[in-house]
Symmetry: C2
Subunit: 337 residues, 2 copies
DNA sequence: TTGTAGGCGTTATCAC
DNA sequence: GTGATAACGCCTACAA
């Protein structure tokens, strides 16, 4: 793979390489005609500035690193798309890495990206645990970083988060108002801050509505459809069934629905179901799944804009953006009675 | 963001920069003790070789570019994961770009990646149309490229493809054997080679089973769930209903199922449904969706391995790998009668 | 307005 | 074994 360089053009036109370089960097004085000539022959020769060399000499890469827990997940996929859209208009390139929900791989990815000299990072952490120390150290060393989603609200760094507690509260409250009396919350992992916040919202709704303690429960389930199926099977077997499930996410909710239907429970008449992080599938299952929609696109956009600000104003003082959602009320939670 | 360089270490230890460099590149002679000393102090000082500089001097980036039509699609997400897994073990980094199903953006992405001096490209084209000329020109210029999925079998380049015709045939044949008499194939766009191949398989099955012409039809529908819904609404309205749908993909199939259920058709008793490109959701809808599973992971792995071969053996002669699928027989296509 | 030369952080080819 | 030194392709004072 041969690349035409600035030298080739200089030789071809009998000018110095600096002149050629200047032709491509508007900020310098150069006679318009020479400029034109250089650009034309460059075009003809198929020249394109080598970004590697440019990066090295400018000490700036115009690369932004993005690290997410997984690709196979509409939430992160949409966030990535939004980030790319914003950054591309500013001539940044986006390097995306996923870590398969492993905090170790996540750390490796971040290190790889930093060593590749990205100008900044957007990190959607898998956990808000130990890696944070390393990340915060990088911020101290003036590496612009913006966190998205699974971050503690108290964290002293720029971040884009969702008000999980509030929307968990609303979702739970909705179920109660629909007349469901015994509601179980299938939560993700307890070391996940977003899960904790949702549990808080759930419990707050229970308390505010004076639901007696024996009529609700939080069960650590996970984030996969099959985990939703297993727990439901289990509850049926143990004859410990609620009349509504508030699930950690839509896949879990769909697992629950699947098992309920297999056991001839009617949704929403016998049992209500509520998801979280509205997915495209929510409208396609029968009955349609009620879920909390998060503004993924806006969150990704905000993260990118926050990062751009940090990079261009060289001001790393932390900014937090908290986003609100929307309760997508659909059939699985609306009782006729 | 300050980076420690080879120079800092050289000064610190009173050795030359070449010695330091050698300590990090096993292939050169260097006294073990100096090596140890250098590595230790490098570690201490937080040094890490600057890959940009290395790339510039080696004229090799250890970056691989991947371009896909979209992220929000399990098929491509899984392919990307597989590609990453293979390449990471060989110390390559994977830069992924998506083009939102736009051939123009796809071309831009490829150019960006080539100009970023990737060592090779894996392209999952949106269309097999005009961009191909540009891509083939790059291959002539010794840029290693492997194509995945939406490529013509005849294309004279390295590629990983799925035997769409064969598996479309099997899927259709299955519907016929289940006693469905009037089958409509909801196809993607006609300028998509994979769609064309699936149509061919569908028609071949019809012919081999001597289904009369008035009992089958190919309808260009698209790839989205809502397109599946619309077409079904339309057919119901026009009273032109088949007794089985063979859909371009699972989302379309789920759109069809949704509309059918809303109109009280029983699946599979009244109407059978078959998807394609098995998704995780297929098992979660009711009834479970029958679909053709493609070996996405293996396809991604094969693409990465093909590319590695090309790069390391410096041999760009085209290799084609054709993959087979599996018919995931589930409830939407199995008649009790 | 243009050319010269040094630097960005490495690797690699020489001498010593 | 180790140390100069010239690349790699580009940018950018400074000089002309």
């Amino acid at each position: 793979m041969k690349h035409v360089t600035i030298k080739h053009i200089a030789k071809e036109l009998n000018v110095s390489i600096s002149t050629v370089s200047r032709a491509f960097n508007d900020k310098y004085d150069i006679r318009p005609e020479t400029r034109e000539l250089i650009l034309r022959t460059a075009e003809k020769m198929g020249y394109y500035p080598n970004p590697i060399a440019k990066k090295l000499s400018q000490q700036k890469t115009f690369n932004i690193g993005v690290v997410v827990p997984e690709f196979i997940n509409e939430f992160y996929a949409e966030i990535i798309v939004a980030i790319q859209e914003v950054l591309i208009t500013q001539n940044y390139q986006v390097l995306v890495m996923q870590c398969d929900n492993s905090a170790d791989i996540e750390l490796k990815n971040v290190k790889t990206l930093i060593h590749s000299m990205v100008d900044g990072l957007i990190i959607a952490p898998t956990l808000d645990g130990g890696n944070m120390n390393y990340y915060l150290k990088q911020i101290e060393n003036e590496c612009p970083i913006v966190f998205v989603n699974r971050v503690k609200e108290q964290l002293n760094a720029s971040k884009v988060i969702f008000d999980n507690k509030k929307w968990s509260y609303f979702a739970t409250d909705h179920l109660i108002r629909q007349g469901y009396k015994k509601i179980y919350h299938l939560s993700a992992y307890k070391d996940l801050s977003v899960a904790k916040e949702r549990v808080e919202g759930f419990l707050k709704a229970m308390k505010n509505n004076q639901v007696p303690e024996e009529n609700y429960k939080v069960i650590e389930t996970g984030l996969l459809a099959k985990e939703g199926m297993h727990i439901t099977e289990d509850l049926i077997y143990r004859q410990d069934m609620p009349d509504a499930f508030f699930c950690a996410n839509d896949p879990v909710a769909m697992g629950v629905m699947k098992t309920l239907k297999d056991h001839n429970y009617r949704i929403p008449e016998d049992i209500g179901v509520m998801g979280f992080t509205n997915t495209q599938m929510a409208e396609l299952v029968t009955p349609q799944l009620c879920s909390v929609k998060q503004p993924t696109y806006d969150m990704g956009k905000a993260a990118a804009e926050l990062l751009l600000d940090q990079i261009e104003k060289e001001d790393l003082s932390p900014v937090t953006k908290v986003f609100n959602g929307k309760l997508m009320i659909r059939n699985t939670s609306v009782r006729n009675a």
